[in-house]
């Protein structure tokens, strides 16, 4: 999990079932050095995506699901609620012997001629009917 103080992600529920959606509020505020006349307009967009990644012995399989972007004003401010739908056929969060499946909501600020800002938060994708059951990746204890 990474966190940039100027880019925050608030997730309504960090556990959701496949076929359902994560609702999150993303806010981007300009840093101290961005408000002068030279830097106005440099922030192009805030991009948000649900990212599925494998970890473990195998080579990494990764997929960006439901990528969307928030409009940014000329001073680099952005705020909005986004819904990231988990496809019904997507794998669930899993902690196995050889492989793990991890989901993160990632937000990235696209800054022209500057270093992009990143924030991410780990979330849990569980089977249908498992929203009230799971507190960690499958399998159940």
């Amino acid at each position: 999990m990474s966190y940039d103080p100027n880019l925050s992600i608030e997730i309504e529920h960090d556990i959701t079932e496949v076929g359902d959606a994560f609702a999150c509020t993303v806010r981007r505020s300009p840093s101290d050095g961005e408000t002068n006349a030279k830097t106005v307009g440099q922030v192009r967009a805030v991009q948000i995506a649900l990212v599925m990644t494998t970890e473990g012995r195998g080579d990494v399989d990764s997929e960006r699901i439901g990528e969307t972007s928030l409009p940014v004003d000329e001073y680099g401010m952005a705020s909005g609620v986004v819904h990231l739908v988990v496809p019904a056929t997507a794998p669930i969060s899993y902690d196995g012997a050889l492989l793990r499946i991890v989901y993160r909501i990632e937000a990235r600020t696209d800054i022209r001629l500057g270093r992009d800002q990143h924030s991410s938060a780990e979330v849990l994708v569980v089977p249908v009917g498992g929203a009230g059951v799971y507190r960690r990746p499958h399998p159940l204890p």
Partner: protein
């Protein structure tokens, strides 16, 4: 929650599930013709190679080895062809499909004889397996690794009556090991069912089926509560 794979015998006299009213949601079929074509595809080039060696007077040791290998493929080819003459494909009828995590699903195995065979009770072995499969790269080599995370074997007695063999087994998919079917490029979770109808030479046969386990929890588990990580005693 127990990891149980249990089975019950189907009987024509009424015990077990009523096969006449079996609710079939999906049927998987295993056909012997794949062995036939596989053996033909490998055996024919070997026979051609043997012919070339015989004509050109090549190494005797190599010719003998290739002849033995060729004979094995010919034997499997003939056995598969004879099996196709005697028996239809093995079918598994599932009462629910895809399978759910934590569910117990009745499955009916059916095999119909193409010619008259005597009635018999036949032991049938069921082996359900969940396997993690990964592919990884080391330098310029690509390697794979597999780990069986769940396996249960069971035996039931099925009935061969009126040239039709039937057995019913309850297939339990645990929620506390393995995962739903995952099919990514380098990371997979596979469920397989192997059935061996055996010990009677007229029907002895192994069939493999790929199962699909959906990311769906059986309704009986919807009210249980997982403990947060680190809170387990």
């Amino acid at each position: 929650m127990g990891s149980v794979f249990y089975a019950r015998a189907m009987s024509q006299n009424g015990s077990g599930t009523d096969t006449a009213n079996f609710p079939t949601a999906h049927v998987l079929t295993d056909n012997d013709s794949k062995y036939l074509f596989g053996c033909a595809g490998i055996g024919l080039p070997i026979i051609v190679l043997l012919f070339i060696l015989a004509v050109s007077g090549g190494s005797t040791v190599f010719t003998v080895i290739m002849t033995l290998v060729g004979l094995v493929f010919v034997a499997v080819f003939v056995a598969s062809a004879m099996e196709l003459q005697k028996w239809g494909p093995t079918e598994v009828h599932f009462a629910q499909w895809p399978l759910q995590l934590g569910s117990t699903t009745p499955a009916r195995v059916v095999r119909v004889a193409k010619r008259a065979v005597p009635n018999a009770s036949i032991e049938t072995e069921f082996d359900i397996e969940c396997e993690e499969w990964v592919r990884y790269t080391v330098g310029t080599d690509t390697r794979t690794d597999e780990r069986t995370v769940y396996e249960r074997e069971s035996t039931v007695t099925g009935d061969l009556v009126n040239n039709r063999f039937e057995a019913i087994v309850d297939i339990h998919i645990p929620a506390n090991v393995g995962a739903p079917t995952i099919d990514l490029a380098n990371n997979k979770v596979k469920w397989t069912l192997e059935i061996e109808i055996g010990e009677v030479s007229t029907i002895s046969k192994t069939a493999d089926f790929d199962l699909i386990v959906a990311a769906e929890l059986d309704p009986s588990l919807h009210n249980i509560q997982d403990t947060p990580r680190g809170d387990q005693s």
